[in-house]
């Protein structure tokens, strides 16, 4: 097991290294430099040169790359070109929105998907199953930004129960923070719940057809007992994989929903960073997201191996 973990750690480090090179190179070839963007159309050439010098943009690229990577290892992500504040602080500010939002959406999605998936699987072919399958088909097909706008026009404009967007900050109280994240979380959760419910259903159906369920029923358990004590636990493995993937997706993929609700999260930070050519911010946030995805995968791998010793050799 220790050798297995060591091997996985090594490949994790390599993945991160390669990712950092790709991210840096990809963003360095993007046309446009932050100094020109900041100074606009009337700036004189010497002014742009002075600002480039001040921002440290004249340093050679390999040196900039090394500074960036070694800085990140010590937790120093550099200084944003446009905002002139430490990137680490900016990320931390955005993280307190994006992380709870992803968690909230994941929670909602799981709360919807589990009952829906279980009902659909146990009532296979019945009205309940068909309506779950139909609704989830719709949930996957609806783009989440469009769903977000529908939520806004209903709950914010018509009923005025919620704000149309924005975030008051956690210092305004936990309730106020959660309230501001509710509509975005629902918008994000719907497609995820639909996918998860379908995975839950098919996984449970597979398990219910296995021999050990028949054995369980044969020894006198009711269908319900067999489901709770034997089937569900076994059906959960693929479901957990999907949940792990969904979490990284929700953390990184909320850009559009964050824009619809004008939430100052990580997605919007990336979006602003790209338009202003604040490359160091974009590079660092993307790197952080890569790190999150890789870590989740790593933990899922470890969890599998712990559960199922056969996997240790295969990976």
């Amino acid at each position: 097991m220790i050798r297995f973990i060591a091997r996985r750690l090594l490949s994790l480090a390599l993945t991160l290294l390669i990712a950092s090179v790709i991210i840096f190179l990809a963003l360095e070839v993007v046309p446009g430099d932050p100094a020109s963007v900041m100074l606009g159309v009337n700036a004189q050439a010497d002014t742009v040169a002075a600002l480039k010098e001040e921002l440290g943009l004249n340093v050679a690229k390999p040196v900039r790359y090394l500074n960036w990577v070694t800085g990140m290892l010590t937790g120093d992500f550099g200084i944003s070109y446009t905002y002139r504040t430490p990137v680490r602080d900016m990320i931390a500010d955005r993280m307190v929105i994006s992380f709870p939002l992803a968690l909230y959406a994941l929670l909602l999605s799981t709360l919807i998907a589990f009952p829906a998936g279980i009902i659909a699987a146990t009532k296979r072919g019945a009205v309940a199953d068909l309506s779950v399958m139909g609704t989830t088909q719709l949930g996957i097909a609806i783009p989440n930004f469009w769903f977000a706008m529908i939520l806004v026009s209903l709950f914010a404009i018509k009923l005025q129960w919620f704000s149309a967007g924005g975030f008051p900050g956690w210092e305004a109280g936990f309730g106020a923070g959660i309230k501001a994240l509710t509509l975005p979380a629902i918008a994000l959760a719907l497609p995820q719940a639909s996918i998860l419910a379908r995975v839950m259903r098919s996984s449970l159906l597979d398990t219910l057809g296995e021999d050990f369920i028949r054995t369980a029923r044969a020894k006198g358990l009711t269908a319900r007992q067999a489901l709770w004590h034997h089937a569900l636990r076994n059906a959960l493995i693929p479901v957990l994989t999907i949940i792990g993937l969904q979490f990284s997706f929700l953390l990184a993929g909320a850009i559009i929903v964050e824009n619809v609700f004008y939430l100052p999260g990580l997605g919007r930070l990336i979006f602003q960073g790209i338009t202003q050519r604040d490359l160091i911010v974009v590079e660092s946030v993307v790197m952080l997201l890569v790190f999150a995805v890789v870590m989740v995968t790593f933990l899922v791998d470890i969890a599998y191996a712990a559960v199922d010793p056969r996997l240790r050799r295969r990976m």
Partner: protein
């Protein structure tokens, strides 16, 4: 188990709803929506309009300032005297002014700020404003003498820009994130990505602000801006990004729609050095192929004033030259034929992100097709546009709104991206800089307008309108936009 889950969910929703609903007292705070967030709050260190839209006249002031009608008014300078040769300006400062941190304002601060902006290593985006200044001297704590190397009729105008505001040498390095100025509002806090809050400065030297608190909220999505206004999260959107919704707001008694003018001349910018646009007949043909009204109606939903030269129609010196480039397809075809392009030609049309460019570009491409010009559209981000078009000069045509006030002088720079090189015009503009007599200045400005209209340097399309939406109870917002600012001093709730 299910019951417990759903109980948790229900509880969450209920607790979330319970928090809604707020107090309804006489309002002294306001939330202003803006599409772009400023990158920093130092107007002397960046060209972003959003910086001035938050701090100009609210937090920071200069020697002079713009009024809502675009006139130049005294600000930190109470009065001034100009020597007969036009070279020496003696500014008498207001007395008893303090910065927001309590420190005293005096003439040394003026000298420091202006010297910093015109210094060799300055990163001021409008450094050219200070070009004519030779020395700045402090004769006593309330008097500053600016000596010019040559007379400059535009000096007082230049000093009114946000890029010429006055900061203290002790706090200037904080301006990017926590500005300290002399204005009627103090900076209170900035939640990056979300909002900036200002509060009333109780010790303001001039007429005190009527509001206690101003919040600027940043909403980039036009649909989100609409929702925020409708839901009452934002009280006013002075530069509302989606003209297609304006009719809906106009029909709603809760809102008032304010249509004013800006300093933005929107033009079909033409690369005067790239063939075939180096041929005046070709440029003239393009000008006659353009149907301005169709562009204003189609791209701007009817908001905008046609222009025939690079000058703001609301300016007293404006002359209407739209007839010289009236929409006339036959004439345009004839001109192209004369120029040797009977079968038309291909060119590029590079469009920056604003909707006037993207929507206008589609319409112009269709109009040019009528006379055989195939304009291949490419959509660029601002950073790409600056790199390829503005610095690289790699374009045939582009659409952009030149939002700086009184910027006809850019036609005198042969290196400027549209590369118009006319020695007579350059002479005219340098003569204009030296002229201080108002009447002669007006005549010269009109001559300048005529020259660039007659040379068909660019396709002059329309003056960008400022379309704002505000709660009907709000009074005192600027209708026009002589500079990109949201002066909140006079704003109040009338309920």
């Amino acid at each position: 188990m299910f019951r417990r889950f759903s109980a948790v969910l229900f509880g969450l929703t209920i607790s979330a709803m319970a928090i809604s609903g707020g107090a309804q007292a006489a309002q002294t705070d306001i939330t202003i929506g803006m599409q772009l967030e400023p990158p920093n709050l130092d107007p002397t260190a960046g060209a972003a309009a959003a910086i001035d839209e938050v701090v100009y006249a609210n937090v920071f002031e200069g020697l002079t300032r713009f009024g809502s009608d675009g006139s130049v008014k005294p600000a930190l300078a109470e009065s001034w005297e100009i020597s007969d040769d036009g070279l020496t300006y003696t500014f008498k400062l207001q007395s008893g002014i303090t910065f927001h941190d309590g420190s005293e304002f005096n003439a040394e601060d003026v000298k420091f700020s202006l010297d910093r902006s015109r210094a060799e290593n300055s990163t001021n985006a409008q450094k050219q404003l200070f070009d004519s200044i030779d020395t700045i001297e402090v004769t006593d704590p309330e008097t500053v003498v600016i000596t010019l190397s040559a007379p400059n009729g535009a000096l007082l105008f230049n000093l009114a820009w946000g890029d010429a505001i006055v900061m203290s040498p002790d706090t200037f390095d904080m301006a990017k994130t926590a500005p300290v100025g002399t204005g009627p509002f103090k900076f209170s806090r900035w939640v990056q990505g979300d909002r900036i809050e200002l509060e009333k400065n109780p010790d303001y030297w001039g007429t005190a602000a009527k509001l206690d608190k101003v919040t600027f909220k940043f909403i980039s999505e036009p649909t989100a801006a609409f929702a925020a206004l409708m839901a009452g999260d934002v009280d006013a959107f002075p530069v509302y990004p989606a003209p297609e919704n304006l009719a809906q707001f106009e029909a709603d008694p809760r809102f008032s729609v304010v249509v004013g003018s800006t300093e933005g001349e929107t033009i079909l910018s033409t690369n005067n050095k790239q063939a075939p646009f180096d041929n005046k007949q070709v440029r003239q043909a393009v000008a006659h192929a353009i149907n301005r009204q169709e562009i204003i109606d189609g791209a701007m939903f009817g908001y905008g004033t046609p222009i025939g030269t690079h000058f703001a129609p609301h300016h007293p010196a404006y002359k209407d030259f739209t007839a010289d480039s009236a929409y006339d397809v036959e004439k345009a075809k004839a001109l192209l034929k004369e120029a040797g392009f009977e079968n038309g030609f291909k060119t590029t049309l590079k469009l920056p992100p604003p909707s006037y460019a993207r929507r206008g570009g589609e319409i112009i491409a269709a109009q040019l097709r009528q006379i055989g010009i195939e304009a291949e559209i490419s959509n660029l981000e601002w950073a790409q546009w600056l790199e390829q078009v503005f610095r690289g000069k790699d374009f045939g045509l582009t659409i952009v709104s030149h939002t700086e006030p009184m910027d006809i002088g850019i036609y005198a720079k042969p290196d400027y991206y549209f590369q118009y090189d006319n020695k007579d015009f350059q002479q005219l503009i340098s003569d204009l800089a030296l002229e201080t007599d108002e009447e002669r200045r007006t005549a010269m400005l009109q001559q300048a307008q005529e020259v660039i209209a007659g040379d068909y340097v660019n396709g002059y399309l329309f003056q960008l309108a400022k379309t704002g939406v505000a709660n009907a109870k709000i009074e005192g917002l600027w209708e026009n936009s002589p500079t990109q600012a949201n002066d909140m001093t006079e704003v109040f709730w009338n309920d």
